[in-house]
Symmetry: none
Amino acid sequence: MPTATWERLPESRRRAVLTAAEAEFGARGFSGGSLNVIARNAGVAKGSLFQYFTDKADLYAHLSELASRRIRAHMEEFIARVSWAEGFFPAYTELLLEWVEYFRTHEIERAVTAAVNLEPDPAARAAVRGVANRHYLEVLRPMLQHAQATGDLRADADVEAFLALLLLVLPHLALAPYSPGLDPVLGLAADVPDQPAAAVRRLVAVFDAAFGQRH
Amino acid sequence: MPTATWERLPESRRRAVLTAAEAEFGARGFSGGSLNVIARNAGVAKGSLFQYFTDKADLYAHLSELASRRIRAHMEEFIARVSWAEGFFPAYTELLLEWVEYFRTHEIERAVTAAVNLEPDPAARAAVRGVANRHYLEVLRPMLQHAQATGDLRADADVEAFLALLLLVLPHLALAPYSPGLDPVLGLAADVPDQPAAAVRRLVAVFDAAFGQRH
Amino acid sequence: MPTATWERLPESRRRAVLTAAEAEFGARGFSGGSLNVIARNAGVAKGSLFQYFTDKADLYAHLSELASRRIRAHMEEFIARVSWAEGFFPAYTELLLEWVEYFRTHEIERAVTAAVNLEPDPAARAAVRGVANRHYLEVLRPMLQHAQATGDLRADADVEAFLALLLLVLPHLALAPYSPGLDPVLGLAADVPDQPAAAVRRLVAVFDAAFGQRH
Amino acid sequence: MPTATWERLPESRRRAVLTAAEAEFGARGFSGGSLNVIARNAGVAKGSLFQYFTDKADLYAHLSELASRRIRAHMEEFIARVSWAEGFFPAYTELLLEWVEYFRTHEIERAVTAAVNLEPDPAARAAVRGVANRHYLEVLRPMLQHAQATGDLRADADVEAFLALLLLVLPHLALAPYSPGLDPVLGLAADVPDQPAAAVRRLVAVFDAAFGQRH
DNA sequence: GATGAATGAGAGTTCATTCAT
DNA sequence: TATGAATGAACTCTCATTCAT
């Protein structure tokens, strides 16, 4: 957690540090990211970073928290906007397409998502993914439960299993397009314009077959 | 690829190096793992490592290759042994249970799988996961295609989408039980004896609903 | 170029680093010189060197630059002081004698000159000798051109060829007295007091015959 | 000096070692050259090198000796062949042109010459250049003395000073064309076809003026 | 509160040389 | 005589963190 000093800082200074840190950690991950570089690019003394955060991990955790919040806010806003009139799965398809698009256009959020998902230190990983997963669930669980209540999902659908799969699928959809070798089947990383959209539709079709009403 | 020197080495020395390297890379991943530590724990001069492998990546690749082969051999042997008489999904359940059990009892393979899945360096990650995914697919794709041919999977089942999901689910089943926070839904990490088995059954039920014959 | 940090350093610390670096690079050249040794002898942490200079080459280049400037300043001052009244070649003899004497009494400058002339790495050598030669020429060319204008050198003397020879002769005069085997003819390395002076006079006589007015 | 073992070796094995060593030392110099590489390229065990030569320096010295002999033999053969009928300096011009051409077409000899002239270790340098200079003088001194006896050089010409200059000029002519920055005056390194020839003629003109008969 | 110089452990890699076989 | 595995010191360079100013 940032120190009290950090909170008292002028907004511009906070921005400078955050921007530099996002760029660096985004590009090189937590272990690979250098506080030297962050301080230099932020135009801030190296020592100052340690006045704001207890250590490297603390700064990183704060960053992840902010990015998670931005991602969540964007998706919640989209969820509120999308039309659910034609049923759950069409809307859900829209949502996943937006999800893929969001990470295509938001490098920093993508980088942070990658770093969170790939954190090699077990303790750090548990902490950081626990936070991320909580955010995911707070958005997704009510949505699925509502869909089940309205009959879009079958009454006997295992909503929790659906959630578990989504916790795997969502980061994958965000990252695989930018990491060749990670998805050798649906071809998310292929340099074909509509490949990600096609992949999304195939996955939603699977979820529909598994959890939707039998047609 | 290891050098010729490595192949000529007495088994005991190779064991010492491999054991130390597995422990280190397992604990800290490729980028984080230290050749210093490996050499020290193997009781071998630092320079000797470079007589055996051209560089750090070479040693790591060799390790992954060995572990992948062990995992694959074990599962192929199990696949040959399990009874497919009662249909695909019961057998598949057995297989996933064995998968979970294998990683419960094989720390090293678990560690290497973790390292492979969590490698933060993008280039290294692409390389190493590409190899791992190839192994997965060479085993899984024929199995699913055969199941579709015999009618255990629906004729219109999207086998490739099934495969894509399995590439996410399998590492998750292997690792989540040992990383709290990674699976906050099905409770794989919970310290309850049959929790992993229950999780496996629920996931297989989802796959059955999505890809199996309508009952 | 040294970093800003280097410029802000207390003079004593800078001296310690420079002294250690001059000694080390002087003794072992650029490629052979060790930053470990320099840091140790300077009483400075290894890492500190990298706060002052971006890398080994940067430190070395700074050193050469300083030494070149000292050498040049000394010779320019001497040139201004010497009497040119009795013609070019007598004055030039004085100048070369001073040159030999300077390097006899300035070990560090001699060492750096040696390092520059003997750098085995081709790229480093080209860079470092290019700089040194520029210094030589900026002093020597105007001097020779002036001597030609005043008639001390023949009108048809090939001043540029003169310069080319001086670029060989000057480093040789500086170093040969301290490297037996390097000059087996004029005996610069011989332990006879006036041998270098004799050698200088003989060489100047050659230049006089080649470029001076016919007597 | 090579060991007795080396002398007893089959010619083919000696050739393999020498070829590999020339290539390596030629490319990277003495300090930079690696015995590892030499042994590998020669197809010889690393340990064997130490049966043939007491250490790295010993191998290197032997190599220099051989190259010096080849260079000398070539030039002596040329000297015997060239026509001295039109006087010393025209023939001498031919000789220097051949010298430049020889090093243009003999990479290995050029590399060894460079290594010898640039050896940064003082003791090694003294030894190795002493040998090389002895070779130079054994060829050049009789030639100049003969030229003086026949009247091509003035009776009062300082032959020894001439020799001293040639010991500087010859290696320079051999190497400068391949080391930019080394000769910023006559432009030996310039990529112009006849530049070296022009430089040679200018230098010979200087020597003619200095040591030849007054025209 | 801000600074930035200092630290020193540690990184991967190379190397000449030794010596048991 | 030939081999090549083993060594370990040495290399340049990076880094998070401390602390006096």
